[in-house]
């Protein structure tokens, strides 16, 4: 059972396996020390079981993409799961048909060898398998048609924009697209001559004969082309976006083992970079893509730029121009830590100026004894919105809560804005000073009005006391009956701040509070899909004018239902939105303080 046309395919498989294994070993060896410790600790556990399930669900069924858009999910699933089944069913078919064993390529080119080799026997379910293989081929081809259609008109598949691919990706895609039609034609030609195959290829073969094609001449050439397409695709795979097919499985397993992005780029980052399929789902949601016409900084392009190491400098520029609103990483079907990787690139660019001792002056802030009280941390931005901090003080007093307003006089930044920009050492210095002051004061809990500080305190500080955002705190006071409010009929549209919603997953607490003081409206894009107000501190490239353009989108979305008030839970969002139009913008603390009994 051999024919010369199988050589390109076999060569492709050997290259694919060789290069992939070499790459993976190199990446695993490049893991950070701490990552290696985590792997060693968790490798002998049952965590591979959920990993297998997740790999099946995401790698083959593409569950998250399906949740994003049904038809898009079908497209990805038919190509991945369809092809997977073609390989598996083909292998089973070959095993059943060759009791004496067979070379591995026979499963792929089964229809070619079946009529020609005596070692292939006719088994009882052979027609069933032939028809099943044809049905699977239709399944894959339907996905292929959708993929081609998406390139022309992507809207029906739920995408406004598709990714711009580079040359090698496009060649690989072309070879992938050729594989299945060529298989159909090759099997059709064989079916026309030997009468084997299922319902589809028999029909195609008959059609080819009816069109006057001499199948005897074309058959072998078609099999050669099919094998060439497979060989080309497999050879290119490790160097293109199709590397994501295998890499995603590894990434899922490593993530289940407990690995996360570290401060600096390591082997894990390389897995994440290659696990990106460049599907482009991250593009549509990006708040600076449409309003500002910035088309090269989105997650997919940033990863692409990091992978092409020679354009590192450009990656730095691209990494800096992002609001870090978190919309893309929420929507990423592979759940790549886009923010973590972006921070790594930023940190790389700032290494030379990231000094470890910049804030000696903070020694002038002396610890205060507030034993047993609640600490209130307004945050830098709240100093520009005194109405929020005053409302919070009124709420504390009304609830009979003894509190200490930590940063009333002079405020020390929480360190997150620095960390977001990649100043790792400087951010750590601020965190250390704040932690010292908090620990020495003896407060029992920390309440903050700024979602940036909240995210920083909960995720980056390791405080021994609970931390609450004021929306959570007020919701708790209302629930416990320590605070009573008079409901009103004002219609309120709530703006989810990026850092509070997508950043910390707090969507319910502010809504509970608002329902107590007014009528909460729904907006078209809320919760995970909330639009950035534009002022988010993540971006150091765009100007104030551009920030205003981003804000306009968010504002339009909020005032669509003509609310009496726009509510938000972030001093920065409040400032940004207030400049957007005439509708009054209030923080939930203000709304509650106003309606207190």
């Amino acid at each position: 059972m051999f024919s010369f046309f199988v050589i390109p395919f076999c060569l492709g498989v050997v290259l694919l396996l060789g290069i992939s294994v070499w790459k993976y070993i190199r990446w695993i060896r490049g893991f950070d020390k701490r990552q290696q410790v985590i792997i060693r600790r968790n490798i002998w556990s049952w965590r591979f079981l959920p990993a297998i399930w997740e790999a099946f669900r995401e790698g083959l069924l593409h569950w998250r993409i399906t949740k994003h858009h049904l038809l898009l999910g079908y497209m990805h699933r038919s190509l991945a799961f369809g092809w997977f089944l073609l390989i598996v069913v083909g292998a089973v078919q070959a095993i059943l048909a060759c009791p004496g064993g067979h070379p591995f390529y026979v499963a792929i080119f089964f229809n070619f060898f079946e009529p020609r080799s005596e070692r292939i026997v006719h088994f009882a379910q052979a027609p069933f398998y032939a028809n099943l293989m044809d049905a699977l081929l239709i399944y894959v081809l339907s996905g292929l048609c959708l993929a081609a259609f998406k390139r022309v008109w992507s809207r029906p598949l739920g995408m406004r924009q598709t990714t711009h691919h580079n040359l090698i990706d496009r060649i690989a895609k072309l070879s992938l697209w050729c594989i299945f039609p060529l298989r159909l034609l090759a099997e059709g030609a064989t079916a026309a001559i030997y009468g084997n195959g299922g319902f589809l290829v028999t029909g195609v073969g008959a059609l080819m004969a009816a069109m006057g094609l001499d199948n005897e001449i074309f058959e072998y050439h078609l099999w050669v082309l099919y094998s060439l397409a497979l060989g080309t695709f497999f050879t290119l795979m490790p160097f293109t976006r199709y590397m994501h097919i295998f890499t995603e499985i590894f990434l899922i397993y490593f993530r289940q083992l407990g690995l996360r992005e570290t401060v600096r780029k390591d082997g894990y980052t390389l897995f994440e970079l290659s696990a990106c399929s460049r599907c482009g789902i991250c593009i549509d949601g990006c708040p600076i893509h449409d309003p500002l016409g910035i088309h090269d900084t989105q997650g997919v392009y940033m990863l692409q730029n990091i992978r092409n190491k020679d354009v590192w400098k450009q990656a730095e520029r691209i990494a800096d121009n992002c609001l870090v609103c978190g919309r893309c990483s929420t929507e990423c079907p592979v759940q790549i830590d886009l923010e973590g990787i972006r921070r790594q690139v930023r940190a790389k660019g700032k290494e030379a100026i990231d000094k470890s001792q910049s804030y000696g002056y903070l020694k002038s802030v002396h610890p205060f004894n507030a034993m047993g009280r609640i600490g209130y941390f307004g945050g830098c931005m709240s100093h520009l919105t005194p109405s929020i901090t005053e409302s919070m003080e009124r709420i504390f007093r009304a609830a009979g809560q003894d509190y200490w307003y930590m940063d009333k006089e002079r405020t020390i930044c929480c360190g997150r804005p620095l960390l977001q920009q990649g100043f790792v050492r400087q951010a750590e210095e601020l965190r250390r000073r704040n932690s010292e002051l908090i620990a020495q004061s003896g407060v029992t809990m920390l309440v903050t009005s700024c979602p940036i500080c909240y995210q920083s305190f909960t995720k980056e500080y390791h405080l021994a006391i609970p931390v609450m955002h004021h929306s959570e705190y007020i919701a708790q006071l209302l629930k416990e009956g320590r605070l009573q409010v008079t409901p009103s009929e004002q219609r309120i549209a709530y703006h989810d701040p990026c850092e509070l919603g997508r950043g910390c997953g707090i969507y319910e607490a502010p809504r509970t509070v608002l329902q107590a003081v007014g009528e909460l409206q729904h907006t078209r894009q809320e919760r995970e899909q909330s639009l950035c107000c534009g002022i988010n501190l993540g971006d150091t490239v765009i100007s104030g004018t551009q920030q205003a353009q981003v804000r306009d989108r968010a504002y339009e979305n909020l005032v669509e239902g003509q609310p009496d008030t726009i509510a938000t839970a972030c001093p920065m969002c409040k400032k940004a939105l207030a400049r957007g139009g005439d509708t009054p913008v209030r923080d939930i603390a203000e709304l509650v303080a106003e309606k207190m009994k």
């Binding site: 700032k350 030379a352 100026i353 000094k355 910049s358 804030y359 002056y361 903070l362 002038s364 802030v365 830098c380 931005m381 100093h383 520009l384 002079r410 405020t411 020390i412 930044c413 360190g415 804005p417 620095l418 920009q421 100043f423 400087q426 601020l430 002022i535 501190l537 150091t540 490239v541 765009i542 100007s543 104030g544 004018t545 920030q547 205003a548 920065m572 400032k575």
Partner: protein, 109 residues
């Protein structure tokens, strides 16, 4: 030195050889919105680091343009990037970007 509340004024002169337009031009290129600055000083008034030190954003970028870089890098290091300056800027200047680019510019020298 005793402070008498007055001093003998020396003739004020500007050393034009020191001024470096190249740096200002480069800053303008990297942070185009810097062109909009009217020097109102709102950024400096609200600055978080300014509450603790004599860090002065308005003076810093003028100083860099005039090549008066002595001690400037250390001053810029005290910025906490909290972003209050951008929120109060009436002209929408990308001040955090400006500070980072200035630090990078001085760091390269």
């Amino acid at each position: 030195m005793n402070k008498f509340g007055f001093q003998i004024s020396r003739p004020r002169s500007i050393n034009m050889d020191l001024s470096d337009d190249g740096r200002r031009e480069q800053l303008l290129e990297e942070v185009p919105s810097y062109r909009l600055c009217i020097g109102c000083g709102g950024c400096t008034a609200t600055c978080s680091a300014g509450q603790f030190t004599n860090f002065n954003i308005r003076r810093s970028h003028t100083a860099l343009a005039c090549n008066q870089t002595e001690g400037l890098a250390a001053q810029l290091d005290s910025c906490m990037l909290c972003g209050k300056c951008m929120l109060v800027c009436p002209r929408g200047v990308n001040l955090r970007g400006l500070i980072i680019r200035m630090r990078q510019m001085l760091g390269r020298v």
